[in-house]
């Protein structure tokens, strides 16, 4: 089996103070491994958007980062309201953010589309009033 490295982070809903911390740590790890900056940027955007979604909408989530020699994988499993209509949520500009969130500069309806755009594989599963599970893979070569 080829070598891999993984690390898990817990993200708490409404915790705006620590929002972005997991993606910052993931970036630090990738920089330490001298991963191509363009790939780091894609991972950064994907993980940050995922993290922000948890902070804004969910109760809490586990973010698991795994890296092998060929790919980076992000798994975000949240306990939260779930998404009733995934097709609608995937549309650019669609958002359920409150006016308060919009004042903070969020809620442009670009979160999920941006995550999809920046990953090579993107899987979203959701169950209403249970939670949402995102799996994103970004290939290294």
């Amino acid at each position: 089996m080829s070598a891999s490295f993984s690390r898990s982070f817990t993200i708490e809903g409404r915790d705006f103070l620590n929002a972005g911390r997991a993606s910052t740590q993931i970036k630090t790890i990738l920089k330490e491994l001298s991963v191509d900056p363009a790939i780091i940027r894609r991972v950064a955007i994907a993980s940050y958007e995922a993290e922000m979604n948890v902070v804004m909408y969910a109760t809490r989530a586990k973010l698991k980062f795994t890296m092998s020699a060929s790919a980076i994988n992000l798994e975000i499993d949240d306990e939260g309201p779930g998404i009733p209509d995934i097709t609608l949520a995937m549309q650019e500009g669609y958002s359920t953010a409150t006016s308060q969130m919009r004042e903070l500069g969020f809620g442009a309806g670009m979160g999920l589309p941006n995550m999809k755009k920046n990953s090579d594989e993107f899987v979203i599963e959701s169950a209403v009033s249970k939670g949402t599970r995102l799996t994103m893979t970004i290939y290294i070569n």
Binding site: A3, R7, G20, I29, E32, L33, A44, Y48, A69
Partner: protein, 426 residues
């Protein structure tokens, strides 16, 4: 050890009781120069003797120098004083700051590149981007610094008016910080700087102070005008721009937060970010003589008095901009950190080892091992530049195990002695 703890990029290690520098991580910010109690870290400025090789010397003070003396000392008098203390000529750089501001505005209006653009005038910030944020290199605005523009102009004028050769002229920058001094020795983008040497404001301060009374009683000069005078303080650059949606950031910790956000794809609606590694910008440089807040107050007063009138003809500068007068040649290269291993699989294995070791450490960042934090220590061990035993907590635990084992052996041995010698009282 103070230098090691204060270093924002964890570039210092103490090995064999001596501080060593990991050059690829250093961003030349100068924090260690201030922190060292033993004066072991010295800024690489020049001494007056270095300039004997030039026929004609021109001092270009950082506009910070204008804020170092009393409120009644105008910039022209400081330029005049520099001529009295040994330089053949002096040249103002605040006016060049105004020109550069106009060039930035032109660039913002005409070039469609990733936003926000980042100011490239603090050399420590440029190195921070090179070392930690290679993704953001394309955000650095490719415009020459006022220091270089002023040096080039001063040389051109001296050649034209005095018939000198370029090699005869020495331009000396009076610097507020070691980062500028290093940037001149080793410019990030091109091979050659128009500045030939640097002297610290703190070194030249007493000489200028001594020359000032004669200047103020015996000379008159023309005022230095324009908003360029405000460049040495946080917000000074942005105040010169027409563009709205600009930010001014001071201090490395704040710079890092802003860079993280930009890297995460945020702040795209911001046009320009002025970033300084020092919390109070250049007036707070480690080689200044005056308290940063007093200097800041003086800069604000100066801008109030002289900032209203521009020193440059805007149209002329725009024309020069179109002729690439302000363009920085070449690209700023990234300075990648040495990876844990050149082989990705091996590097991942080492990362795992590092994490496991880190979990076993006390995580109090005491620094006794010679690495600034437990995390950097774990990394150093994986990189083979430190031993696990260098951690006093691990060493103590090992010692306890060792002594317990030893005690057990001794006890076992003495039991055998008793068995062999029943008369023993033991």
């Amino acid at each position: 050890m103070a230098c090691m703890h204060v270093c924002p990029t964890h570039a210092i290690r103490v090995r064999m009781r001596k501080a060593t520098l990991l050059r690829d991580r250093c961003i030349d910010c100068g924090e260690c120069v201030n922190a060292c109690a033993n004066a072991a870290v010295l800024p690489q400025t020049s001494s007056f003797r270095d300039f004997a090789r030039f026929k004609h010397t021109i001092a270009i003070p950082s506009p910070v120098l204008y804020s170092q003396f009393g409120k009644d000392v105008p910039p022209w008098a400081i330029l005049a004083a520099l001529k009295r203390i040994g330089f053949n000529d002096s040249y103002d750089a605040a006016c060049a700051s105004e020109s550069v501001s106009i060039a930035i505005q032109e660039y913002l209006d005409s070039v469609d590149s990733p936003r926000p653009l980042i100011s490239p005038f603090c050399p420590a910030i440029v190195r921070l981007v090179q070392v930690r944020y290679p993704n953001l290199l394309e955000h650095l605005i490719p415009i020459e610094s006022p220091m270089e523009i002023a040096a080039r102009e001063a040389k051109r004028l001296a050649m034209k008016n005095r018939g000198l050769r370029e090699s005869d002229i020495g331009v000396i920058y009076i610097t507020p910080c070691p980062a500028k001094a290093l940037a001149i020795k080793n410019p990030s983008r091109k091979k050659h700087s128009f500045v030939d040497g640097t002297i610290a404001i703190s070194d030249i301060f007493p000489n200028v102070l001594q020359a000032l009374p004669d200047v103020l009683t015996g000379e008159t000069g023309s005022e230095i005008l324009g908003l360029g005078l405000g460049w040495p303080i946080v917000g000074g650059q942005v105040a010169c721009l027409k563009a709205e949606d600009c930010l001014s950031v001071g201090g490395l910790d704040h710079a890092v937060r802003i860079f993280e956000e930009i890297e995460n794809g945020k702040l795209r609606d911001i046009q320009y970010v002025e970033v300084h590694s020092c919390p109070t910008a250049c007036v707070g440089g480690s080689l200044t003589a005056e308290n940063a807040y007093i200097a800041r107050g003086r800069v604000l007063k100066m801008v109030q008095r002289f900032g209203g009138k521009p020193c440059q003809d805007r149209e002329k500068i725009r024309e020069l901009y179109r002729k690439n007068f302000f363009s920085l040649p070449g690209k700023i290269p990234p300075i990648p950190i040495q990876p844990l291993d050149s082989n990705v699989s091996k590097a991942l294995g080492k990362l795992q080892q590092k994490q496991e070791l880190y979990e076993s450490l006390p995580k109090i960042n005491c620094g006794a091992c010679g690495s600034p934090t437990c995390e950097t220590f774990a990394e150093d061990v994986v990189r083979n530049t430190a031993d696990t035993d260098d951690c006093i907590f691990i060493a103590m635990k090992n010692f306890e195990t060792l002594s317990a084992n030893l005690l057990e052996k001794v006890m076992a041995h003495s039991k055998r002695v008793r068995v062999m010698n029943p008369a023993s009282q033991l």
